[in-house]
Point group: C3
Chain length 309, copies 3
């Protein structure tokens, strides 16, 4: 059996907008970082530092100027401490105002980037930025907002790397708040190539890596899309990561852990395409033995057996 690309990074889904919260304290998070490290995860990415009025750290700007609620814990500090303790790199995901589109996103994050860098920039584990506004097609203002934010992140932090994680606008690109799991009107491989060729041309020099979400296309489309993604990224000097989703998009319950063979197929396709790094959305709900969904722990075991870990 061929070997898939190893998962070496995971998102930390705080604040979530569609995955229910596990209500972990420091003890559970500490144990989860240990479990991640045990399978070779060296990178954790906080998916966003806030969403609408909920935030992950005490933020004078977001609480004072945007009416966000004060959090009961400083999760940025916690994740940085745990990343340091377990020898991992922490990447910081920008704030998502939840409305107003990409321009509003950019406007809010100008202040957030400065504030966050001032608060946490000296921390040893702070190694990069994640520009968190997702899109699959060229939407009004999307590319401009990403470019502007990415350059601001670099500028504020002395050039720390930046990545994005867009979706492929395939047949499973359906809202988690709809009952269906598939749709008509999926993007074709050639449309995807043309559109993202243009987008990457504009993002060249601003982003260092792009981790397309791998869950919106059929399993028999993986090779075709991954090959295009790798070719485009290489052309523009962007590392081609994959966001190997560990939840199952084919099921009515949105979402529970993925069937191991589906994850395996995606990681094997990623290896065949020569992708540069695999991260997952996300370990703690969908792959962790601590997850509220026990099938996540079994996925962890199947993954370890398969990878010989």
């Amino acid at each position: 059996m061929e070997t898939g690309l190893k998962i070496t990074g995971t998102f930390l889904d705080e604040i979530s907008h569609d995955i229910p919260h596990q209500n972990w304290g420091e003890r559970e998070w500490d144990e989860d970082f240990r479990l991640m490290k045990a399978i070779g995860i060296d990178t954790v990415v906080m998916i966003r530092c806030g969403h609408r009025k909920f935030v992950t750290y005490p933020s004078p700007y977001l609480q004072g100027r945007r009416g966000c609620f004060g959090p009961s814990a400083d999760l940025v500090d916690l994740f940085l401490r745990l990343a340091e303790r377990h020898g991992m790199a922490f990447w910081f995901g920008l704030y998502d105002p939840g409305e107003g589109g990409h321009p509003a996103y950019a406007e809010a994050n100008k202040a957030v980037i400065d504030e966050v860098w001032a608060r946490y920039g000296a921390r040893k584990a702070f190694r990069g930025w994640y520009v968190s506004n997702e899109f699959g097609r060229r939407e009004p203002g999307s590319v401009e907002a990403v470019r502007e934010m990415a350059l601001r992140c670099k500028d504020a932090s002395g050039g720390l790397p930046v990545f994005i994680s867009p979706w492929i606008d395939g047949g499973k690109a359906v809202s988690a708040f709809r009952a269906e799991t598939s749709r008509e009107g999926a993007v074709t491989v050639s449309e995807h190539e043309r559109e993202w060729g243009g987008i990457f041309a504009e993002l060249e020099g601003a982003i260092d890596a792009c981790a397309f979400q791998d869950g919106h296309i059929r399993y028999d489309e993986l090779d075709a899309f991954f090959a295009v993604n790798k070719r485009l990224c290489d052309r523009h000097g962007i590392a081609c990561w994959t966001n190997a989703e560990s939840f199952d998009r084919d099921m009515p319950i949105k979402f529970l852990p993925i069937k191991f063979d589906k994850l395996r197929l995606k990681l094997e396709a990623a290896a065949r395409a020569g992708l540069d790094k695999a991260i997952t959305f996300e370990f703690s709900h969908f792959m962790s033995p601590q997850s509220m969904y026990p099938s996540a722990g079994h996925l962890y075991n199947r993954y370890r057996e398969y990878m010989g870990l």
Copy 2:
């Protein structure tokens, strides 16, 4: 950090119409009452004694006259025994015929109230009634049915107290059987005040407490609605409780345990508004270490830490 209002009551969701059953036996229920008591819960409310053809106790009326199915256990007796054992008050929720609207509701419960009081009225833990037909706006027959049932409950039981738990008709007032989590057309604070002012005027003297469900409005609307609720209740001599929902209405899976900080925000708003008591819907699925959803147990731990319990 300010302190939220402590939760001192919970519904017991038997019979449920949208929350899957946990299939507990007496051992699990006994342990759950113990876990409730450990965080200060002194009041349990059986949310309804029957729904359509399923009932919680062997009922000559409901089985004989309405074709309900005989239950395999007498849950009313069980809950009364456990309430006595753990030193808690038990409130009895009326039968929900599931169709025919409020008039059918009233018609069915005339016989139920008499039957139940004859069967269980002498039990030490039987301390009150819950008129279980929910509504958020003045619906045809709703207020009349509540008033009639509440007075009948009092009359049958020598004046035991009665409460209701309506919803606020906010932007999250969406059926659990729809995929969406929000809607247009939410009630405004002033409409709510006008409408419920009239409703409470009619219910004065019939009900002793009103526990509005707190989950159908946005978190930044809590203060405004809670203040109105408290003012209206005070004006009509009704205790102003809050039904602090411990499940998350913002997520696609309907429903899993709420994020702790959301519950905390609601309890803090309840404290600020000076509400009289907080109950929750409901402990056993959404806050219990025994819950089928492990994030409920973590919520229990977070809540204990926060309350210093």
Copy 3:
């Protein structure tokens, strides 16, 4: 209390199309067969050997000719070994191509039947076939495809028995991929009797048993439909089984374990109707103490107590 029909068989939901995968390895499956046997299950039915591009065994035909993905484990071999170890009968479910309707189903399975019998036919636990294309009404090609496949299965295997598990087209016959749980336009008992009378006349001699799914009708319709099913089956020399669904079709989360009293009502109705055998869909997610849904383990305990096992 009357006694329900005992469950003596279960589907094994591999490959699933709407129930999330548990990611079990051989150790968990072995334990699950032991748990099944402990409550009297003597029959396991692999619900389908493949669905679209995912398959349960290494298949030269399905992988080579239809582009299916190679599985990481041979589940047919595993289930046969475990059935032998635990003294159970294994029934094999045919491949579901997922599109092309019943004619495409028949076309694909001609090769599958021969291939599977050549590979596994000598195994001691291989005792029957399950023709897996489900339908509730006479659909174009449905009866013809079932008849053709059933006769082919018998012919290939020296006459091993064959069964089907259609649905009753009742008010809960709603896709798992829709948010609603009920619909208008349910079949009446007399329509059901007329339609299935005709279908069974055509299937006489081809199938040995029919296990109607019991979850699409109301609980107060069980007796009427079960009586018809038994009468029709008897008339055509078909054993009348029931597929006692152990998941709850009345809840927004599709699907979690059923409330014990609902399962009990269905098994009691099956006993009253004199049905010949009860199987369930399915043990491992919805009745097993190992299930990712802890309420399944409690259902197991309630069922054991009720049956005195």
